[in-house]
Structure formats: structure tokens, C-alpha cells
């Protein structure tokens, strides 16, 4: 297993180099110069002020020189100082990571807690109204754009009913450790982020459960006289959950990247919102730090997925 993990981590290096290269090229080749944008309208500045700032961020060098320096620094997880914040870009992004992880992990929990039982319920009640309702929800959950759904929830629960806050992570005046207030802020964005996943898991679980309960070993278990609850929980559900577990790692990465839109709608101060704002201002160091962090989390989550897959299904050997 250790060799496998090391080998997978080594495989990740070219992936991350590719992400770093593509990010560099996209940011540098897109129209818009960060220093000109940053100093636009500052009419009391001289050309010398502006050029000094350009030099301080290494943007006075040629593009190949900038790239070489960028790759060497990126290998040491150094992305330079943010042009806007005058601070180390990666530390700025990491400051926002706990908020994004809170959102993503809560959404993941909601997906499993709601999606799995729904799928099982549909499978057990195949052909009945519950099954039809879950399948209908499965389609709708996929089709509804997350930002639109978020806005609808805001209008209903924040603007009209005034039950839940629509913006931020904490009410003004509340203590940082006020968990209740944090949960109130978390409910809507986490649910919106989880929606597509809930629909996904309910459909997966329905299909997998239906497939598993037709297998010979389930019939054998029933024939041995085991209680139907035991047959379902120990034999059927465990096997039906394998594809769910395999999807988990990738889902976490998907949730972190998907949080970008949700963070905008709910002004959730996470990595997505921060990187997006940086992209609008051409803050190269923050953009690259944000994208690279996302890339690293993606690679890590796929690794976790593969390891989890091996753990859940002993028949699968790590080669």
C-alpha cells in the first residue's frame, strides 16, 4: 500500500506541473495587465511609481523569465505576494480554506445523509409513488442551476420569511464560536451545494441496490433464514455502497470547485470567492495559488478515493 501511495504521489507531479503551466499561460495571455488595472485612475502616481511596483512583483521581466521563476517558486509552494493584499498569496488562500472546507464537507454529509436513504427507499419501494418521487427529484436536482436555486432559497427563507441569513458566515455582533449562528448561515449554501449530489446518490443507490438484491448471495442469505433486515444491512447495502465510496474522493474536489458559484451567491468568504475576485483584478499570485491549491486537493481526493475503494472492497487489490 505504501509503495502504491508513493507511486500515486509521484504521478501527481506532472499533473500539478501541467496545471501550473496552463494557469500561468491563461493568466498571462488573457488581456489585461494587473499593474495597469491596479493603478488605473491613480492620477497622482508617476510612471516611476508604477514601474517600481511592476518590478516588485517581477512583472518587468520577460515572459520566459517570469515562467522559469514561477515554476521554481511554485515547486516550493511560493506564489509571491498578492498585488492587491501585499501579502503572501498562498497564506491568503489558506486563510479562506477552512470556510470552503466547512461548506464542502457539510454538503458532502448532506449528500450522504439525504441521498443514500432516498436511493435505498426508492429501491425498496420500486414502482411505488416514493420511487417515482425520488426519481423525479433525481432529474430536477440535476437540472436546476445551483445559483438559481440559491437565489430562490434566499428570496423565500431570507427576504420573505426572514428565517435564515443570506450572506456571510456570522451575524454582526456574534462571537466567532457561536456555532448556532454559524449553522444558520451554513444551511442554505450547503444545501444548494449538496443538491446535485443528493440527486446523484439517490439515483446511484437506487440502481445499485436493485442490482445487488437480485444477486445469488442475497437469495442464499435469505434462504439461510437470516432476518431480512440483516440481509439488507449487512449484505445488500454494503455492496451497494461501493460505487458511492469510490465517488466520494472526486466528489469532495467537485464540491470545493463547485463552491465557487455558491460562495458568490451567499457571499461565503471561501477560496472560490477569493480566487474569483482575484481573477477579476488579475491578481496573478492569488489566482495561481488558488488554482494550485484546488489542483492539489483534487489529486489528494482521488488518491483517498482509490485507497478507500481498496479498503471497502477487499477483492480489489492494490497493484
Amino acid at each position: 500500500m505504501r509503495t502504491y501511495v508513493i507511486r500515486r504521489l509521484l504521478y501527481a507531479i506532472p499533473t500539478l506541473v501541467a496545471i501550473a503551466t496552463i494557469t500561468f499561460l491563461i493568466t498571462r495571455l488573457a488581456p489585461g495587465d494587473p499593474i495597469r488595472l491596479f493603478t488605473f485612475g491613480a492620477t497622482d502616481l508617476t510612471r516611476e511609481d508604477i514601474e517600481a511596483l511592476r518590478a516588485a512583483h517581477g512583472l518587468d521581466k520577460s515572459l520566459p523569465e517570469q515562467f522559469a521563476l514561477y515554476i521554481v517558486n511554485a515547486a516550493q509552494l511560493k506564489f509571491g505576494n498578492s498585488i492587491l493584499y501585499h501579502k503572501d498569496a498562498m497564506s491568503l488562500v489558506l486563510e479562506r480554506l477552512p470556510n470552503t472546507l466547512t461548506l464542502a464537507v457539510t454538503a458532502l454529509v448532506l449528500q450522504l445523509v439525504i441521498g443514500v436513504p432516498l436511493g435505498v427507499l426508492a429501491a425498496v419501494n420500486r414502482g411505488k409513488w416514493i420511487d417515482n418521487a425520488v426519481r423525479f427529484f433525481g432529474v430536477i436536482g440535476h437540472a436546476v442551476p445551483a445559483f438559481w436555486f440559491g437565489l430562490m432559497l434566499i428570496i423565500i427563507f431570507s427576504v420573505t420569511l426572514r428565517w435564515l441569513p443570506s450572506q456571510g458566515v456570522l451575524t454582526v455582533g456574534k462571537d466567532v464560536w457561536d456555532i448556532g449562528d454559524r449553522l444558520k448561515h451554513l444551511i442554505m449554501p450547503a444545501f444548494v451545494l449538496a443538491l446535485a449530489g443528493i440527486a446523484n446518490y439517490s439515483r446511484y443507490l437506487r440502481t445499485e441496490t436493485l442490482d445487488v438484491i437480485r444477486q445469488d448471495y442475497i437469495r442464499t442469505a435469505e434462504a439461510k433464514g437470516l432476518a431480512s433486515k440483516t440481509v439488507f444491512m449487512v449484505h445488500a447495502l454494503r455492496n451497494a455502497l461501493i460505487p458511492v465510496v469510490t465517488a466520494l474522493g472526486g466528489v469532495l474536489a467537485f464540491l470545493i470547485s463547485g463552491a465557487l458559484v455558491i460562495e458568490q451567491v451567499f457571499t461565503w468568504p471561501g477560496v472560490g470567492q477569493f480566487t474569483y475576485a482575484a481573477a477579476r483584478q488579475k491578481d496573478y499570485p492569488v489566482i495561481t495559488a488558488g488554482v494550485m491549491l484546488g489542483g492539489m486537493l483534487l489529486v489528494l481526493s482521488y488518491l483517498i478515493r482509490d485507497i478507500a475503494y481498496a479498503v471497502v472492497d477487499p477483492r480489489i487489490k492494490v497493484k
Partner: protein, 572 residues
């Protein structure tokens, strides 16, 4: 990504507006005036919550280059002078000053009561510390503000351990003088303003020691100030969400009455307006489209005053691809041919002022009278085109030597005000026989093209936010014309030049620095602009500041909304 966000924001705005329209049904509320009734006694307490759309970036004044950071930092670090909120005239604040007869030396005396929040006095040494920090920082863009101070360059080049032009009185540490090598009228604002507020030597002095080059850029106090000279002290920065300040009990003008100031980030203007109504925010500026809704709220009041900015249509007066724009008479025709009063009425719901020159009427530098107001007059516009040698063709477009008056105007996509102005200009110019090709581009693309002198640009719509110092050199002097061949950038995008004009600008910054004399120069400057019309000067919008009805003592103006923040209080 960008497109997706615009769609998203548009939807938020649309849906939010619908929701607001559905809930807005109260009677018309009173507007303006935060004065307390004679029998009202100020009460301490409460929390001022200001809504905004983006987070602050830093809390070190010399690194500040954005409005949010300036908003918060200005409450922590007070400045040596303050501006009259209504006309921008400079008044003593943390210090008072005199200027030597040769206009080279500024003598300052800091208020005897001015202390840092930890009890230590604010001194002349603290001003010197601020200057040293600017000199040592690699990330500040403010160095040129101090370049004329004697000894500045030697300190920047590490040839001296202090700035020789700054002398702190050895007998009275509250007194100091600053000597400049040459007369520079904007020096008062630039070298003693917000980017040079005294900085506490006992906190930041350690970053000015020898061998500490750029240590200030990494100082933890940049994001968590430990002491304050302003009315509020830093408490907490919840990144991306809130900045919390608490009152400075030892503030030299008296402890603020409101306990806490919170800078709260919200998604957009629609959310901000909604939260002002619910009371989640109690201080914020709204867009003209939300004005009627705000005025309908009995619990809110709206302050309306002219902003120190304007939105304009610029002309490339040296364009070879649109030669008609080189002719002053054509540009004057374009001024007569666009009904800016109607634009203000329709786009800004009447909350703005038509502009015909550079300095907005609220500025002391604006000429009092004598400017052509260019009232909307289609016939006069066409007469001017005819005088310029153009004749109307069968297609309704004026042309000379077979070449029609045709040019493009570009605006930044996503800015609804500018997009609408572009649409109106295209239609109204068509009516006077001028063909406009409207174009929308990303803001960053426009900035690149404009500042580098890309000749694709013929006409453009953008805006200027002006500062306390009215010096127009950076925007209008001929040295500020971008030159693609020399790869120099600048803000005189339209390449307008005129010898008298340059002279007026130069004398306004380096001649007699009295306000009356400078005003004369700016009168000449504005009259030339008014005559030459290198811009269709567009409009200056109103700021629409919304607060609760029970907020007392607030009296905002164009040049400052929070000048007497420490006196504000909430009537219970």
C-alpha cells in the same frame, strides 16, 4: 467565469428588485438632515454597520490603494489635516500648519491632546516614521508623493539614515518642519494626507532600522493595527466577511459615542439595499434605482450629495482613422447633440449633474461661471457640422470628401450605466447625422488599450474619480499622453494638447500656491476644455447615502461623509 458572474449578478438584481418592489409599499419617508433637535441629548452606544461589496486589503495607510481599505484605515489612523465636507478646503485636524513665504517649508504643530490609543503622544517623529516606511516599502505606490522633500532620495538610496528635510523640534516633539526642494502646490495634500498620516514610532519604528529594507511590507501590524490615532481601534478582521473596530476612548476630539464600527461585505447593491431596509446594515450607499424604495421606508433617511467623480465620453482628438474627431467644431456638435439632462433623468433617475468641464461643481477648483453649458440643440449641432465642411448624404449621415462622420465608441461591458449611455449616444448622434459604431469590451481590455495609446480607440466611455487635490496634471498634461512607440503609458488617452492649457496646469501646481491663484489657473484650464471639448463631459452622479432615521449628528458632503464620526449617535 466572468460572463457567468455577470449573468448571476443580473439575476440577483432582477429577482431582488422584484422582491423589493413586492414589499415596498410604505409612505414617503423624510430625507436629509441628521441634526438633533434642541431638546435631544446625545446617548452613547450602538453599532454602526457599513455595507460594501469588497473586502479591505490592508490597514497600513501607505499601502492603501483601494476605497474599502481607505474607508476602514481612515477610522484608525487620523490625518494631519481634514477637508471641509462641502467644499474640500483643508482645515487643521491632528495638526495645524503654516507655510513659509517661499512655499518650500511646511511647519506643523500636532494637537497637544493627540495621543495614540495606548496613551503615548502623537509626535513629529511619528510623521518621520511614516515617511521612512514609505521609503523602505517595495509595495507602496506612494513614493513620488515625497520625492521633493529634501534628503528623501538619499534615504531611499540608503545613503542617509534619516530624511534631512524633516526636522523634529528638539524642545517640543509635537512640532516639526518639512522642507521641499521645489515648490509643488499638491504637496500639502499628497505629502501630508492619508498616505502620510503619522505612524506610531513605538510600533513601526522597528521596521525603519538600518538593514530593514521592505520589512514593513511583511509587518503583522499592516493587517492588525495595535494602536490608533483615529476615533476607532482595530478589534478583528473576519476575512471576506467583516472588519470590527471599537471606539478609541482616548481620541483627541473626544471618545466616539457609537461603541462599535463594523465594515460588512455583501454580495451586491441589491442585497445592500435589502439589508438597509431590514436593519442588518445601517450605513451604506445605494444606486439611483433603489432611491424611491429607500425613501419609502419610514425608518430610513437618504442623504444626497454630489460625488467627486464623473462619467464621460472621450474623443481621440488625434485619431487618423476617425479624422472628424480632430475638428473642434465636430466635437462641439457632439456636445450639443446629446441630451445629457435627459440621460441624467433616465439613467440616474435625476440624481446627477451634467458636466461641461473637468472639475465637478462641488470642487473649489471649479469655475463659477462663464462656461458654455452646451444645451441640447440638434439644429445647432448640425449647423456646426456644416460649418466644419460636412454635408448631409442621402443616408442621413454627414460626410466630407466622400468620408462620412463615423467612429466607434467603446464602453466596458457589465456596467449598465455606461452601456445605456452608449446606446443613447448612438441613437442621438444618428439623429444629428453622425454614425456611431457601439462596442462593448471587458474593463481590463479597455484599460490596456487606453493607457497604452492603442489607436483602435476612437471614442470611449469611462469615468474619473477625483481626489481632494484638484491638480489635473495626471489626466490632462501633454506629458501624460500614452506613447506606443516609446512604450510609455498615461491617462491623457485622447492625446489632447494645447500650450496655454499645459501652462495653466503647470502654474496651478508649481506657481503661487494660494487657493485663489490656483483657482484662476484652473479657470483657464476648464475654459479651454469647455471650448475644445476633448470629452463630451457627461455627468457627475450623486452619492445616495442611507442611514436609519435615528442616527444623529451626521452631516455628510462631497469631500467627506464621516468627518465628525465621533459625534454621531443613535436616538433611542
Amino acid at each position: 467565469m466572468k460572463q457567468q458572474s455577470r449573468t448571476l449578478r443580473l439575476l440577483v438584481a432582477l429577482l431582488g428588485t422584484l422582491a423589493l418592489v413586492a414589499t415596498a409599499c410604505g409612505p414617503t419617508g423624510p430625507t436629509g438632515g441628521g441634526t438633533a433637535a434642541p431638546d435631544e441629548k446625545p446617548v452613547a452606544g450602538g453599532r454602526l454597520i457599513e455595507g460594501s461589496f469588497s473586502d479591505i486589503k490592508t490597514m497600513n495607510p501607505m499601502l492603501v490603494a483601494d476605497v474599502p481599505s481607505s474607508t476602514v484605515t481612515g477610522k484608525i489612523y487620523d490625518t494631519l489635516f481634514s477637508a471641509d465636507p462641502k467644499n474640500g478646503e483643508l482645515k487643521p485636524n491632528l495638526g495645524k500648519w503654516t507655510i513659509s513665504s517661499d512655499s518650500l517649508t511646511y511647519n506643523w504643530e500636532i494637537d497637544p491632546k493627540a495621543n495614540w490609543s495606548d496613551g503615548k503622544p502623537v509626535t513629529g517623529e511619528d510623521y518621520l516614521t511614516a515617511l521612512k516606511l514609505v521609503a523602505l516599502s517595495k509595495l507602496t505606490v506612494r513614493k513620488s508623493n515625497f520625492q521633493d522633500i529634501e534628503g528623501w532620495k538619499d534615504f531611499v538610496d540608503a545613503k542617509a539614515t534619516t530624511i534631512s528635510g524633516v526636522k523634529v523640534d528638539s524642545t517640543d516633539p509635537k512640532k516639526f518642519s518639512v522642507k521641499f526642494a521645489k515648490v509643488f502646490c499638491p504637496a500639502l495634500v499628497n505629502a501630508f494626507g492619508s498616505s502620510a498620516g503619522p505612524m506610531p514610532t513605538h510600533v513601526f519604528g522597528k521596521y525603519t532600522a538600518a538593514g530593514q529594507a521592505d520589512a514593513i511590507d511583511k509587518a503583522p501590524e499592516n493587517t492588525a493595527p495595535t494602536v490608533a490615532s483615529g476615533p476607532y481601534v482595530f478589534k478583528e478582521w473576519r476575512k471576506g466577511d467583516q472588519v470590527i473596530l471599537t471606539k478609541n476612548a482616548s481620541y483627541f476630539k473626544g471618545a466616539p459615542l457609537i461603541d462599535e464600527y463594523v465594515y460588512k461585505i455583501v454580495a451586491d447593491a441589491t442585497v445592500l439595499a435589502a439589508q438597509l431596509k431590514t436593519g442588518e446594515l445601517n450605513y451604506g450607499t445605494v444606486e439611483p434605482k433603489d432611491l424611491a424604495d429607500m425613501e419609502a421606508q419610514q425608518n430610513l433617511k437618504v442623504f444626497k450629495y454630489q460625488a467627486l467623480s464623473y462619467t464621460y465620453i472621450g474623443w481621440n482628438v488625434k485619431s487618423t482613422t476617425a479624422p472628424a474627431l480632430q475638428d473642434k467644431r465636430v466635437r462641439q456638435a457632439l456636445a450639443y447633440g446629446l441630451d445629457m439632462d435627459a440621460v441624467v433623468k433616465s439613467i440616474l433617475f435625476g440624481q446627477g449633474t451634467k458636466m461641461v468641464a473637468h472639475h465637478p461643481p462641488a470642487s473649489w477648483a471649479a469655475p463659477g461661471a462663464g462656461l458654455n453649458q452646451y444645451p441640447y440643440d440638434k439644429a445647432k449641432a448640425e449647423d456646426l457640422l456644416k460649418t466644419a465642411g460636412y454635408t448631409k448624404g442621402a443616408d442621413g449621415v454627414y460626410a466630407k470628401e466622400g468620408k462620412p462622420i463615423e467612429f466607434s465608441i467603446v464602453a466596458n461591458s457589465g456596467n449598465k450605466t455606461r452601456e445605456t449611455l452608449l446606446q443613447v449616444a448612438t441613437e442621438q448622434y444618428k439623429a444629428i447625422g453622425v454614425k456611431v459604431n457601439p462596442k462593448l469590451e471587458a474593463f481590463e481590455t479597455m484599460v490596456d488599450k487606453l493607457t497604452t495609446g492603442n489607436q483602435e480607440i476612437q471614442g470611449w466611455i469611462i469615468g474619473w474619480s477625483l481626489g481632494l487635490e484638484p491638480d489635473p496634471y495626471g489626466i490632462w498634461h501633454s506629458t501624460q499622453i500614452p506613447n506606443p512607440a516609446a512604450k510609455t503609458t498615461g491617462f491623457n488617452f485622447g492625446a489632447f494638447t494645447n500650450a496655454d492649457f499645459d501652462k495653466a496646469i503647470e502654474t496651478g501646481r508649481s506657481g503661487n500656491c494660494s487657493q485663489a491663484e490656483r483657482k484662476k489657473n484652473y479657470e483657464t484650464f476648464n475654459k479651454i476644455l469647455n471650448e475644445e471639448q476633448p470629452y463630451m463631459f457627461g455627468f457627475s452622479p450623486n452619492t445616495l447615502l442611507v442611514t436609519p432615521q435615528n442616527l444623529r449628528a451626521i452631516d455628510p458632503g462631497t469631500f467627506s461623509a464621516t468627518w465628525n464620526l465621533e459625534k454621531w449617535w443613535f436616538k433611542q
